[in-house]
């Protein structure tokens, strides 16, 4: 028996505008509303709306035998509400089928786990609240931003009542073990760990249109045979990827939609296969072992560590200076300040400052709204300088 478990990440950051030295102190808007609206509407049209419709059709065609899970960030939902409410409706229709599971994460798609557990928990709670508001849904599985994970994530997630959490199935944490089983997490008693099968996931997310790759062109039946081959030495194939894979990272003309349209049927052709959502996987399969993951792992780049966000001193100094302000931001009691501070925590801002230009640097460049990583650092620090002035004006004694 092999269960295919899809989890799609839906996220759009509030991108910063160019905050010039002359703007500092003018308490201007930090985020490029025009560009954010433009990108959101573009991606909605290319990806979210058509893919949601396709997934809905597939669920209906298979009477729910095809099923998927999503994690949608709070900042993405906020922007949908503002710029593309029809996307919210289409997600609601999916959730209403009963075959779609929603996961929780940090509302602001932040790296708060690494800097402040207090802030981390608050953001998870905010996300939980948003799920209830928009979807009337209570997630039972947690995934941390960019699959940032170590034992402590499992521990905290369990404390917050989650039954499972997701992580990258990186070779250096698994060793000889396979990602195709359910695991227990060290330091937690009951929470289950689902690990991304990065080979098969990345075949779709990154290599799908790569003509130099031996798997190209990737068809649904070919992919299904790869999944079938796991039969007998695994329970579950966790296919975790950015939802923007469909139509945005892989454009429509690559055949990605066609692939997705046929995949459920091809997978289900094998009588031993099915689709499960994370909660169903946890219920169906017993853990085979306990994983002790002390160093932080993530799903980014070939390193699968934090170097995409915290690999250079610009990134570190930007994020450290931001989190330094937590206590005083919260003491200010100023909702607008708190909201801006949290939007500045979104991991993308630090990703844009990445200077690893080789291999994965290409991927970074694709996602980067700035010409140079230094420009994004400059925009961030100018904004932060203004933000600190606002803080100071709100709490005159804070220094």
């Amino acid at each position: 028996m092999v269960s295919v478990c899809f989890y799609f990440q839906v996220h759009q950051p509030y991108r910063l505008g160019k905050y010039s030295i002359f703007d500092i102190g003018n308490n201007g808007g930090y985020f490029n509303d025009v560009k954010n609206a433009e990108i959101l509407q573009k991606v909605s049209k290319k990806c979210y709306l058509p893919t949601n419709k396709l997934i809905l059709d597939l669920i209906n065609e298979t009477d729910g035998r095809f099923r998927v899970s999503y994690s949608i960030t709070g900042v993405a939902l906020d922007q949908f509400e503002e710029y593309a409410p029809e996307v919210i409706e289409s997600f609601q229709r999916l959730v209403d089928t009963g075959y779609v599971e929603l996961l929780d994460e940090t509302y602001y798609h932040s790296l708060a786990f690494l800097y402040s557990e207090k802030e981390f928990k608050e953001q998870v709670k905010l996300h939980r609240k948003k799920m209830k508001e928009i979807f009337g849904y209570k997630p039972r599985v947690f995934r941390n931003t960019e699959l940032v994970y170590n034992n402590r994530v499992a521990y905290l997630a369990e404390k917050m009542g989650y039954k499972g959490t997701l992580a990258e199935g990186a070779d250096y944490i698994l060793g000889w073990r396979s990602p195709n089983f359910v695991y227990k997490a060290k330091m937690a008693t009951d929470i289950r760990l689902l690990l991304k099968n990065y080979r098969l996931s990345d075949d779709i997310a990154f290599r799908f249109s790569e003509r130099g790759w031996e798997g190209w062109p990737l068809t649904a039946d070919k992919f299904a045979t790869w999944v079938n081959s796991i039969n007998g030495n695994g329970n579950v194939v966790n296919l975790f990827m950015d939802y923007e894979t469909f139509g945005e990272h892989q454009w429509e003309d690559t055949g990605i939609f066609n692939f997705l349209r046929h995949l459920p049927h091809e997978i289900l052709k094998h009588p031993d296969n099915d689709f499960k959502t994370p909660t169903e996987v946890i219920k169906a399969y017993k853990p085979v072992a306990e994983l002790d993951i002390r160093n932080v792992v993530s799903w980014a780049d070939i390193e699968r560590d934090l170097s995409a966000w915290l690999g250079n001193q610009m990134q570190k100094s930007a994020i450290e200076k931001l989190y330094e302000l937590e206590t005083i931001v919260k003491e200010s009691g100023d909702e607008k300040l708190l909201e801006d501070w949290r939007r500045l925590q979104t991991a993308d801002h630090f990703y844009y400052m990445c200077t690893k230009w080789f291999n994965d640097g290409d991927v970074h460049k694709y996602f980067n709204v700035y010409d140079r990583p230094h420009d994004s650092f400059i925009a961030f620090m100018n904004t932060l300088t203004d933000f600190r002035i606002r803080l100071k004006e709100t709490i005159p004694m804070s220094g």
Partner: protein, 423 residues
């Protein structure tokens, strides 16, 4: 001086940039000098390269605009299409990350593949101009134009006239490279200086470099300091950042010559003493990325704020916003920026290794390498209101009478001597 006496002087001038087509001080200086000369009745034929892809008519339209305040009967522009910008090292010519990058790549097929073949190409054009135009002095600005000047002089010799050549040294390869000259550039500079009938340097400081490093007879070298045409600052603006932070400004290309790294070290020292000071660095250049990263490395990533190259009014706003302007150059032949700062009411702390420190009295002067003393002097200005006001006020009075007529007249004297064979 009665400008009518100068009508018989016609200068064939070779330059590399001219506002608004400039990236730094060379264009400003050429413009100023041309303005001064034409005001004194001298005729100038100004030859400059034109960035590939722009039309000659477009250039001419912009250059002919009234805002330049140039006497149209006295100035004539000739452009040659090129993809060069001044201040480029051969290396940065190839790698420079700028808006020009795209067409640089495209243009490489059409034009020479490096800086030096561009220089040769430009000097070939000089042949055409020199045989078409009427002039009795050749004046060229910095090494890129020396081959053109020499070519022009040779043409006149063939025509039996032997027009005198003056090379004007705004910067040497030693200044630009922090003492690690490119041999090819050095050779071109040296040849220009030796072939020239007379050499102008923008300071005594530069004269000493020319004499020391290029084996030139000091009697052949004439110091003519740059200037500005003083006008009141156009900026009257309150900056809210000033309610919270004192501002120390760096403004210049981020290249080794300007000492942006020294500025960072100074910033680090000051930050350790006063946490509320902010340092603004304006400019781009081959050290830009390094400097931004180094600010973060030094732990002052939140204290040092950056801005790309600003133009015109924004430059004045930056000066106006600052409490003190720092010129940290490790070798600055002249250095016009302190005058711009003072014009905007901002006191200056400047490197002793500069030409401007020879003529400006109301400023604080420190050896560029003495970052401790630099930091102390800057803090003095920031914390001592009396000192700050006095430097600003007296500085403003001092430069009020500055004008490009002064250097222009010195040039004219030199022209006259050269034409009469007196040098």
């Amino acid at each position: 001086m009665d400008s009518n006496h100068n009508h018989n002087i016609k200068v064939l001038m070779f330059g590399w940039e001219f506002p608004p087509f400039n990236s730094g001080g060379l264009g400003v200086a050429c413009y100023g000098l041309t303005k001064g000369l034409t005001r004194q009745g001298v005729g100038v034929i100004f030859v400059l390269p034109r960035i590939a892809g722009t039309l000659n008519e477009e250039y001419m339209r912009i250059l002919a605009a009234d805002k330049f305040g140039l006497d149209k009967d006295k100035i004539k522009f000739k452009t040659v299409d090129s993809i060069l910008k001044p201040y480029m090292s051969s290396k940065s010519y190839i790698s420079e990350k700028s808006g020009l990058e795209g067409f640089l790549q495209e243009a490489r097929g059409i034009y020479g593949s490096d800086l030096f073949s561009e220089v040769r190409r430009y000097s070939k054009y000089a042949k055409i101009v020199a045989s078409e135009e009427e002039f009795n002095i050749i004046h060229c600005h910095d090494w890129l134009t020396y081959p053109a000047g020499i070519t022009a002089k040779n043409i006149t010799r063939q025509m039996g006239k032997n027009v005198p050549l003056i090379v004007h040294v705004h910067a040497t390869e030693f200044d630009r490279t922090g003492g690690n000259p490119n041999q090819y550039v050095y050779d071109l500079e040296r040849e220009g200086m030796h072939v020239a009938d007379s050499i102008v340097t923008v300071s005594n400081y530069t004269k000493s470099i020319v004499v020391r490093h290029y084996g030139v007879d000091p009697r052949k070298v004439h110091v003519i300091h740059n200037s500005i045409d003083f006008e009141e600052s156009r900026i009257d603006e309150k900056f809210r950042i000033k309610d919270h932070h004192k501002i120390v400004l760096f403004l210049g290309r981020m290249t080794i010559q300007k000492g942006p790294d020294h500025f960072l070290w100074i910033a680090k020292k000051i930050s350790e003493i006063d946490d509320d000071v902010r340092f603004i660095m304006v400019g781009s250049g081959d050290m830009f990325s390094y400097i931004v990263e180094e600010a973060a490395n030094l732990g002052i990533g939140d204290k040092v704020l950056f801005s790309d190259f600003l133009n015109g009014r924004e430059v004045d706003r930056a000066y106006k916003m600052a409490d003190v302007y720092v010129m940290s150059s490790i070798s600055e032949p002249f250095g016009i920026t302190p005058l711009e700062a003072i014009k905007n009411g901002t006191p200056v702390v400047i490197s002793k290794q500069s030409g401007i420190s020879e003529i400006l009295r109301n400023c604080l002067v420190v050896d560029f390498w003495d970052t401790n003393l630099m930091a102390t002097r800057i803090l003095d200005v920031l914390n001592n209101e009396e000192l700050r006001d006095s430097l600003a006020k007296k500085g403003l009075n001092e430069i009020r009478n500055f004008s490009w007529d002064q250097p222009a007249m010195k040039c004219i004297d030199l022209y006259k001597k050269a034409i009469s064979g007196g040098i």
